[in-house]
Amino acid sequence: MKNTENIDILKKYFNFLITNLNFKIKEVRSLNYALYAKFISNNVGIYFSYEFRDFIPHIQITKIDTEDLKERPGLYTIKELYKDNNFKLQSFYLDEILSFQAQNEYKSYFQNIKTIEDAIKISSELLETYAIDYLKGNDFNFTELDKWFKEEIRMH
């Protein structure tokens, strides 16, 4: 399969971001081992990261002021950042949104996938079903998720 075909698959299943929510594709990078993409609206950025050997795509949703969308640092770094009481996390992964909403575990949806297309399709459906308020940049949702996330880190 040519790498461009994976881009076509991504565009097919994530088209709702563009047609319904005014996102645009800022960047797509397709490799033989991974697919990366950035979608940007006027106040939200989505970083799609799929390293195929891990089976499951990561979708990071970030409240942004500019189009400068960066990948969120990992958990250990966020723990350090939370030591500053004024720090407010504005970037979350789809699997964290599902956990916050007490849905089934994100990876459980991918147990029977066979192809890259299967995984991309499922991830787009979960994004559209469970993260629509975040995709619209609703401040309240990001604030509530930040509080929950901070508590989760404190408990663990």
Partner: protein, 136 residues
């Protein structure tokens, strides 16, 4: 359990706690004496592991090209098992050689990579020391 496990973590568990501590101590000591011998583990190869490893001159696990999908088809369960066994052998070999292990951690609250999960399981089983690496 594969042969590498038998040679490393498996051996540690057979030694009992005292033997395990001594074995781990030797391995850790070897790592401290040769600080250039280090690896980085975590989730996110391109944007996290590679930059972290390069920033400290460490190595990282090179994914097997056989893991890469052909015609858009992901690994079967059997292929995944083989790939994980290869990762396991590599990881145990680094432990046996006393490499210092830097851990940049998961991307978020949940580990989703079976390869990183495997490495964390081995660390848990062996008690081999790791160093959290912040900033990635």
């Amino acid at each position: 359990m594969d042969s590498a496990n038998e040679a490393a973590g498996g051996a540690a568990s057979r030694l009992g706690q005292a033997g395990k501590a001594a074995w781990l101590g030797r391995a850790a000591e070897a790592g401290m004496n040769t600080p250039e011998k280090s690896i980085v583990i975590g989730e996110g190869m391109t944007k996290r592991i590679k930059p972290a490893a390069r920033s400290i001159g460490a190595k990282w696990y090179q994914a097997w090209s056989k893991n890469f999908p052909e015609d858009g088809v992901l690994m079967t369960d059997e292929q995944l098992e083989i790939a994980l066994a290869r990762n396991s052998r590599w990881f145990y070999s680094k432990i046996n050689q006393g490499y210092k292990i830097y851990d940049i951690g998961p991307k978020g609250l949940n580990i989703t990579s079976p390869f990183y999960q495997l490495e964390r399981d081995i660390i848990e089983k062996t008690g081999y020391p790791t160093t959290p690496l912040i900033g990635f």
